[in-house]
């Protein structure tokens, strides 16, 4: 059973996460068609960040509003796992480029890293939240 805070987070975050999967391909399409440079390129690159920022704000609100301390701790731990994974992959990809590698880990690495971060956090939460049958 979800707490009121968890219900609110689930309801609002779903549409924001869906918008991420729309905004990124849209920004990629615009970039391919218009070949932007300078400020336009920066703005285009920032476009898919908007849903990520909103999800992080919603997560912060959930953590503030969740009254169940155990659930709050669990959410923080799982988010930390997800964030650690995302940071590691992004840093590894960045270091490869700094050290002169011209290739790509896999297409749209940065796009999938955020999706994987959310997925990893949700999966680890589900696993950790399982309890034996009631007595």
């Amino acid at each position: 059973m979800l707490s009121p805070a968890a219900r609110r987070y689930k309801k609002t975050s779903l549409s924001v996460l869906v918008s991420y999967f729309v905004l990124f391909p849209l920004a990629d399409y615009i970039a391919l068609r218009t070949h932007p440079a300078g400020v336009e390129l920066w703005l285009l690159a920032a476009m898919p960040l908007l849903p990520i920022a909103i999800v992080l704000v919603l997560l912060g609100r959930y953590l503030r509003e969740e009254k169940d301390g155990y659930k709050r701790d669990l959410a923080v731990r799982c988010l930390l796992w997800g964030t650690a994974g995302a940071v590691m992959v992004n840093l590894f990809s960045g270091f490869l480029k700094i050290f002169g590698w011209k290739g790509q880990l896999f297409p749209f690495t940065e796009f999938f890293v955020f999706a994987l971060m959310i997925l990893a956090a949700k999966l680890s939460y589900r696993v950790a939240d399982r309890v034996p049958a009631d007595e």
Partner: protein
């Protein structure tokens, strides 16, 4: 921290879900406290103690 929650709950004949509903928290929280995976916050410890008519130190003790 050790606690006597499972024993006290059994004496009352309450399931984990029933106790969780009374405290307006999740059954997972009750299970985590009983198994020693999670130490409740001070306000929750007070509410638990009140629920069983005990003092906090009668329910919880340091390891």
């Amino acid at each position: 921290m050790n606690n006597r929650l499972k024993v006290l709950r059994a004496e009352k004949g309450w399931s984990q879900q029933e106790l969780a509903d009374k405290l307006e928290i999740s059954r997972q929280s009750i299970n985590a406290i009983e198994t020693g995976k999670y130490d409740p916050s001070l306000p929750l410890a007070f509410r638990l103690a009140r629920m069983f008519g005990k003092r906090i130190e009668e329910m919880f003790e340091e390891e």
